[in-house]
């Protein structure tokens, strides 16, 4: 678990009902663990939902990038509910518009098409994360 740091908090929804939630989760993990670990880290969305004072303080001090699988925007709404700043919202449904006709797999496991979507979209999210990290 992170302490107060300048790193951008990347928070995926990790929704468990549709493949969109897994896509969001894997995009978030790829950004923070592989593409820009120096500039980004994640916080558990479930921890945010608890509303504990520790996570409220952390979120209020941070710039957040949310990745939501569906239009219900659970990650963005949860961060906002705690008083956090969502510097950028990403929606998987928007990303999928560039991949019309592709079937990314299931909510349990992605296929090759799903991983292609994850890898390419994570690069775009990472570019924005680096911009936000560099902002005063």
């Amino acid at each position: 678990m992170s302490s107060m740091s300048k790193k951008v908090k990347v928070i995926p929804c990790s929704g468990i009902g549709k493949v969109h939630g897994l896509l969001a989760r894997e995009m978030g993990l790829r950004v923070v663990n592989e593409i820009c670990p120096q500039e980004a880290e994640t916080e558990c969305l479930a921890y945010i939902v608890t509303g504990d004072q520790e996570i409220i303080d952390l979120i209020k001090e941070s710039k957040c990038v949310t990745i939501d699988g569906c239009p219900k925007m659970c990650a963005a709404k949860s961060v906002t509910e705690l008083g956090g700043t969502v510097a950028q919202e990403f929606r998987v449904v928007d990303a999928l518009k560039e991949y019309r006709g592709m079937k990314p797999g299931s909510v349990t496991a992605l296929n090759d098409a799903g991983w292609k979507i994850v890898d390419e979209t994570a690069e775009k999210i990472s570019a924005r994360v680096r911009e936000i990290y560099g902002e005063e």
Binding site: L22, E26, N33, A46, V49, K72
Partner: protein, 145 residues
């Protein structure tokens, strides 16, 4: 069983291995149970305007599956909906050190991880069956059997 719907709510935490295991074990149960017996709910939907989710968890028995000892799924469910019927703690099953290890992508799941998923899913199933039997017993009592 088929007599009662039970909600299985995973923390799906993004910060440690336990979160990935909780998520995969929950999905395994949902996929293996007869359709409709086990229902999973997105935990953050409790905050994001999910009246349907909050209502379901308030009206039906629920099992939370937590990946670490912060107990986020249990605490968030009880804060926003109602008391849970039972809990599964991944760290109690695979060990605290493993559960709090680095989170992994499903791209890097190993046979060892899948064994962990199976163990946690089995624990969910045991608790699921216990709750279902309890509800069936109560229903039979009400009907005078």
């Amino acid at each position: 069983m088929g007599a009662v719907k039970i909600g299985v709510i995973s923390c799906s935490g993004e910060d440690c291995l336990g979160g990935t295991i909780s998520r995969l074990a929950t999905r395994k149960i949902i996929e293996e149970m007869p359709q409709g017996d086990a229902v999973t709910l997105c935990l953050p939907l409790f905050i994001a305007g999910g009246e349907e989710e909050r209502g379901f968890a308030a009206a039906h028995p629920t099992i939370t599956v937590d990946g670490c000892n912060k107990w986020c799924a249990k605490r968030a469910t009880e804060r926003l909906s109602g008391k849970v019927s039972d809990v599964v703690q991944v760290a109690d099953i695979i060990g605290n050190e493993a559960a709090e290890g680095p989170v992994i992508s499903t791209r890097n799941i190993s046979p060892e991880h899948l064994e962990m998923v199976d163990k946690v899913a089995e624990e969910i199933r045991v608790k699921f069956d216990r709750i279902a039997e309890s509800y069936i017993g109560k229903a039979l009592q009400i009907k005078g059997f």
